[in-house]
């Protein structure tokens, strides 16, 4: 089980990106996190993934505090971030170096099948489309069989059709692996149709504004879906209208006056 308690992050420049974020995700739960740009969603995932250290609060998995990247947690970035010098197979197997070769091959093939890329194993990343590359990135995260999968807007750069296919893939993967997923997204429909629970965030500092439990998850359309979507939308509107705190506005004003006075 993944627990976040009072998680906060203040960056070196004094930007308070996240404050007092508390959340428990049940094993196998899909939690969608939605919010405007800059409200600390990526920061949240980076803290859970152990890439950054929180200023306050803790992340723990199965009672164990996470301070470094943890073997049971994996992160899928917003961009595929494939290693250009490795073939698709070697990219997928990147996290398996500690296993015997036969086991690696088995797992790589399994993961490539899951994302429908069996035929692409020998290609280099430069010969993949954006959607294919993102699927390789998903496969790369899956092979280590993480208990917790963090996804940072994994489909946002893709066209609507590919996005829907991949969303379905993700659900298939979830039903096979029963991984806990934290899915950051900008897309209300994506959040409501994939998640068991939707967290709406509010910026400056990033914190939880509202939490919507989806009554009948994984269904598009229907009264429940529409109702949940309406709630998420109104919470999101509320969050987006929240104005920037005084110091940020002041910072902008100073910045522009500097621009004006400079020759």
């Amino acid at each position: 089980m993944l627990s976040l308690t009072g998680l906060g992050k203040t960056y070196a420049g004094g930007v308070q990106a996240l404050a007092g974020f508390t959340l428990d995700a049940r094993p196998g739960e899909i939690v969608a996190v939605i919010g405007g740009s800059g409200c600390g969603k990526s920061t949240l995932l980076r803290l859970i993934g152990g890439l950054d250290t929180p200023t306050t609060g803790t992340v723990s998995i199965n009672g164990e505090t996470v301070e470094q990247p943890h073997p049971l947690i994996n992160l899928i970035f917003q961009e595929p971030r494939l290693l250009p010098w490795l073939s698709v197979c070697d990219n997928v197997g990147f996290g398996l170096a500690h296993l015997p070769r036969a086991e690696q091959v088995l797992r790589i093939n399994e993961a490539l099948c899951r994302v429908n890329l069996e035929a692409y194993g020998d290609r280099l990343p430069k010969a993949l489309s954006g959607g294919q590359a993102q699927r390789v990135a998903i496969a790369r995260a899956l092979v280590t069989r993480p208990e917790v999968l963090l996804l940072d807007e994994p489909f946002s750069a893709l066209d609507a059709l590919t996005r829907e296919t991949l969303q379905q893939h993700l659900l298939d993967i979830w039903s096979e692996t029963q991984a806990t997923m934290i899915l950051v997204t900008h897309d209300i429909d994506e959040a409501v149709s994939l998640a068991h629970r939707v967290i709406v965030m509010k910026p400056w500092p990033g914190r939880i504004l509202d939490e919507i439990v989806i009554a009948r998850p994984h269904q598009r359309g229907g009264a429940d879906f529409d109702q949940a979507r309406a709630r998420v939308r109104s919470a999101l509107n509320h969050s987006l209208s929240a104005s920037a705190p005084a110091d940020i506005r002041k910072g902008r004003a100073q910045h522009s006056s500097v621009l004006e006075t400079s020759p």
Partner: protein, 295 residues
């Protein structure tokens, strides 16, 4: 004779039906290095050698017809004759071999030291802060300025020559590796971190492949400087080597010998670079370059 062959090549390329239609359908597509086929390669080769061969031909005719004396600038035929003489006299191979050996040793030493220093400063912030300013200051010294000191320290024989060449090779390799390491994309390093790589594994599996293209470019720059510095090294008193042929040619007033040595420098310099590029190309074939794939 060479010119005739080049013209024949040009004719064959244009006459080749495949090259013909390609040239029509994609204007000047054979200029792209990736353009395939022997026709394209021949045309490109002919185009590359047209300028120097034309110049040689011009000078040959000018001297032949008495328009120029060719005393200080000997015509190509005389240079070739000198080359043949040197070769049959049996010393040329030795001269070439000793110069190549000096460059090779200096290159290996300088590249190894540059790669090591570049890795350390690129990887450890502390080392960078402590060492890089000094190295940058040393880099600002024209390396030829070290010659008198190196002679005092290492004598006038092989050691000082190899050290001078190594000094020349060191700096571009150092700079290339160090800056490449410092500018490795954080995003790719984070991939390594999320898979819990650290220390040596991170270097081996992420940093090294990421800087490899820049490292190879810096090796090429270093090798070029190696050829430059071997001349300076052989000027400071050598009894054999291509640089010796230069000095000897000047002292005895033999411009044809000087030109012959220069010609050999051009050929083996180009050859060694091509060798380096050819040997390393498979290592960086993964790069998604404009010239490789086009748009």
């Amino acid at each position: 004779m060479t010119i005739g062959a080049a013209e024949a090549g040009l004719g064959a390329g244009v006459g080749d039906g495949r090259a013909d239609t390609a040239a029509v359908s994609r204007r000047a597509s054979w200029l792209r290095p990736s353009a395939g086929g022997w026709g394209g390669a021949l045309i490109r080769f002919a185009l590359a050698v047209a300028l120097p061969l034309g110049a040689f031909l011009f000078w040959e005719l000018a001297v032949d017809s008495g328009l120029a004396s060719g005393r200080l600038v000997p015509p190509p035929s005389r240079i070739l004759a000198t080359l043949a003489d040197l070769w049959t006299a049996g010393q040329l191979a030795d001269h070439i071999a000793s110069t190549c050996l000096r460059v090779l040793l200096g290159f290996l030493a300088g590249a190894a030291a540059g790669a090591l220093a570049g890795s350390l400063t690129g990887y450890f912030r502390f080392v960078h802060a402590a060492v890089d300013p000094t190295l940058q200051a040393l880099r600002a010294i024209p390396s030829i300025a070290w010659v008198p000191l190196f002679i005092l320290w290492f004598g006038i024989f092989e050691t000082s020559k190899v050290v001078l060449i190594a000094t020349g090779v060191f700096f571009p390799v150092y700079l290339g590796v160090s800056t490449a390491l410092l500018s490795v994309d954080r995003k790719i390093v984070e991939v390594g971190r999320i898979f819990r790589l650290s220390g040596f594994d991170l270097v081996r599996r992420i940093l090294f492949p990421a800087v490899l293209p820049a490292f190879i470019v810096s090796l090429r720059a270093g090798l070029g400087l190696g050829w430059m510095f071997v001349v300076a090294a052989e000027f400071m008193g050598a009894s054999e080597g291509l640089g010796y042929l230069l000095v000897d040619g000047q002292q005895l007033g033999k411009p044809d010998q000087i030109m012959a040595a220069i010609l050999i420098f051009a050929v083996i310099g180009k050859l060694s670079d091509a060798l380096l590029v050819g040997a390393t190309a498979p290592l960086i074939a993964w790069q998604d370059n404009f010239s490789r794939g086009g748009l």
